[in-house]
């Protein structure tokens, strides 16, 4: 039973603050993914929890006990590194047994534990090999085995599959998920790959420039991004963002994206938008490609637009539409639009529309 908590954690590298007021509670057995671009402080946060970095202010609590002044060997936390860091002078068996030797476990028990975990990870027949003789996927399995064998309070993983090729990455992702379900240990996983984050996490923690941006379940983070950064970072293809001009009349509202054409919106949004607008100045509209509806025939509420680019992706196409001076990316059935330069009709699904304050980047929370 392990919970981890970060309280007002601050970390400086010289004059640069890499972790800013980090507050986070991680429940027992939870799979948390720290997601962000490189240099956003996610790895430093992970290393601080492991004890490989000191923090300048704040508390790190494991099971309610502050550990920020404990050495990493006293925190009982295991870590898997991106580079795997298998000891090259030891066999796979010795690598996995290494953490147990630190606890002076008896030879028979060590042997049992190593073989047990090797079976779970399906690496029993590799135990006598050296790391240099292993494939990338097997190296990673060994690294995970070494982390799990001690039955640590928590598992930390720093981009553990970032060094693998795409196909293997997918395979290992499923394996990590399977292991987590089986072992149920509290896990913190660092990645810059949002697909990895979405597929693995119970909750995603999005970081940017050392600051926590949003914490939530994958669906929550995807459907209700709290600011422009999260909106654009999560989801592929990226959410469309455009400066919006809201014009309201009695029973309808229009949102212009420049170029004289306005998309109609239900008036229910107006009062909310009006209230929000009084607080902030310029608005930005965000819509994911699947929220841009495309029709080949003219329909009510649809605006004529020109097809600028088509990217066929197999199961669906991504189409760039020219709306005034803006480009909107839409997701269509594969082959639905045929040629660039064609004229089609498009509208923005009001239910999937997000509004942001351009100045602060924060979501206005205005939803239909």
């Amino acid at each position: 039973m392990t919970s981890i908590e970060l309280r007002d954690v601050q970390k400086f590298f010289g004059a640069v603050q890499v972790i800013k007021d980090m507050n986070l509670k991680i429940a027992d057995g939870e799979f948390i993914v720290l997601l962000g671009q490189s240099g956003c402080g996610k790895t430093t946060t992970l290393r601080a929890i492991a004890g490989l970095e000191t923090i300048d202010r704040g508390d790190i609590l494991i099971d309610g006990q502050p550990v920020q002044n404990l050495k990493c060997s006293d925190r009982d936390i295991a870590m898997v590194f991106q580079s795997f860091s298998l000891y090259p002078h030891m066999t796979v068996f010795e690598n996995i047994a290494f953490p147990l030797r630190a606890t002076r476990m008896s030879k028979a028990d060590t042997d049992n534990r190593v073989r047990e975990i090797a079976k779970v990870l399906r690496i029993n027949d590799l135990l006598d090999k050296r790391p240099s003789a292993l494939s990338g996927g097997d190296m990673q399995r060994v690294a995970i085995g070494r982390a799990l064998v001690r039955r640590p309070k928590a598992m930390l993983m720093d981009e553990p599959i970032g060094a693998l090729d795409a196909k293997l990455r997918e395979e290992m992702r499923a394996e990590i998920k399977r292991l987590h379900v089986k072992q149920g240990s509290t896990t913190i996983y660092v990645t810059h790959d949002q697909i990895e984050a979405m597929s693995l996490a119970d909750r995603i923690v999005i970081m940017h420039e050392g600051r926590l941006q949003q914490v939530g379940s994958p669906t929550e983070v995807y459907a209700r991004p709290s600011n422009l950064f999260v909106a654009q970072f999560v989801g592929s293809p990226v959410m469309n963002i455009a400066p919006a001009e809201v014009k309201s009349s009695k029973d309808s509202a229009e949102v212009g994206l420049g170029g004289g054409q306005n998309f109609g919106f239900p008036s229910a949004l107006i009062s909310q938008l009006d209230a929000a607008r009084s607080r902030s100045g310029q608005l930005a509209l965000g819509i994911r490609p699947e929220g841009v509806l495309v029709s080949r025939e003219e329909k009510k509420g649809y605006l004529p637009v020109e097809i600028h680019l088509i990217e066929p992706l197999g199961s669906y196409d991504i189409v760039d539409l020219k709306v005034g001076e803006q480009l909107l990316r839409a997701r269509t059935r594969s082959g639905y639009v045929e040629r660039t330069g064609d004229k089609v009709y498009a509208r923005i699904d009001p239910e999937q529309t997000h509004f942001f304050d351009t100045a602060s980047g924060n979501s206005l929370g205005v939803r239909l």
Binding site: A50, L52, C72, S73, A78, S83, S85, P99, A102
Partner: protein, 319 residues
């Protein structure tokens, strides 16, 4: 993977092999000269042109290890017949083996000088490599204030010919009673080798990814344990290479050994040429002493040859 080679490349390869052979022969020529002289009869050792074909004999080695004096009168046939085979060789050279009152053979100075060389070289190598490894680890892994300046200072001890400080060192050593002691030479050679050892080991340490230690730290080990269990085995290649170089430097050092020692702690390098001076130089004995002196370095390097090869640790870290 077999690469495609053209006929020009093949003939170039052959040419390169011939070149390598010639260079190797140039390098091996002095060693051959010493080795052949060590087994020559004395009268053939200085012939011009050099004698290449001769019946090898071990008399130079017998003379090397025994204390001898010039024969005033030749031995009587009884004396000659009673002498063991090796003593006859000395008689044949116009000398006799010196014995004490009880008739025990007196050893020459060579074995003890050889032992001195071994003691001084081994101990100073262990010290220089040990301290160098720890220092290099510190510089490589921790933020040391003034790191660049300190490293430069360490290197600067190598920036003048060591013999420049020989006289002051001699005076200081005499004052503190380190003259002609093993400890004195060990301290001296350790100090010489330390800068070299630190710099070489720092290069090796920098190449060992620090993730290994971090992995060991989260695996429940202290930094000291991580150093001994993970870093040291990884640094074996570097340690072996550094040890070979330090050993060779200490083993071959001549100038300081000549100045600082004369009997008790004298090493082999100043002793061997001192044999030239007594009577007519016997080059075969000097060659025999030199040949034996070459062996430890050759053996030491041979024993460490596996560690001198790179690539033992290749491939366990993904970059």
């Amino acid at each position: 993977m077999a690469a495609v080679t053209t006929s020009t490349e093949r003939s170039l390869n052959r040419l390169a092999i011939v070149g390598v052979l010639i260079v190797t022969m140039i390098f091996l020529a002095p060693i051959y000269w010493i080795a052949s002289t060590a087994f020559k009869p004395r009268n053939l050792s200085t012939t011009i042109p050099p004698t290449v074909v001769f019946t090898p004999e071990v008399s130079p080695f017998v003379k090397l290890f025994t204390k001898r004096s010039q024969l005033r009168t030749p031995p009587t046939p009884e004396e000659y017949a009673a002498a063991p085979w090796w003593e006859r060789m000395v008689f044949d050279g116009g000398e006799k083996v010196v014995r004490d009152g009880k008739g025990n053979v007196q050893w020459s100075g060579y074995p003890s000088r050889f032992m001195n060389s071994l003691i001084v070289a081994i101990v100073s190598t262990i010290l220089a490599v040990g301290m160098g490894t720890l220092t290099a680890y510190g510089f490589s892994r921790f933020k040391v204030k003034g790191e660049g300046d300190l490293l430069f200072f360490i290197l600067s001890t190598r920036m003048l010919p060591p013999v420049v400080v020989a006289i002051p060192m001699f005076l200081m050593y005499r004052a503190v009673g380190l003259n002609d002691t093993h400890l004195g030479l060990i301290i001296l050679y350790t100090a010489f080798n330390l800068s070299f050892s630190v710099w070489l080991m720092k290069g090796f340490m920098d190449e060992i990814p620090k993730e290994y230690e971090e992995a060991a730290l989260v695996d429940g080990y202290t930094r000291m344990q991580a150093f001994f269990k993970v870093v040291l085995p990884e640094a074996a290649t570097g340690i072996a290479a550094t040890a070979v170089f330090c050993f060779i430097t200490a083993w071959n050092e001549y100038a300081f050994a000549l100045i600082m020692t004369n009997r008790r702690a004298q090493t082999a390098p100043p002793f061997i040429p001192s044999q030239v001076g007594s009577g007519l130089p016997d080059w075969t004995v000097i060659a025999a002493g030199t040949l034996l002196f070459l062996l430890p370095v050759a053996i030491f390097t041979f024993l460490l040859r596996n560690h001198l090869l790179r690539g033992v640790t290749f491939g366990a870290i993904r970059k």
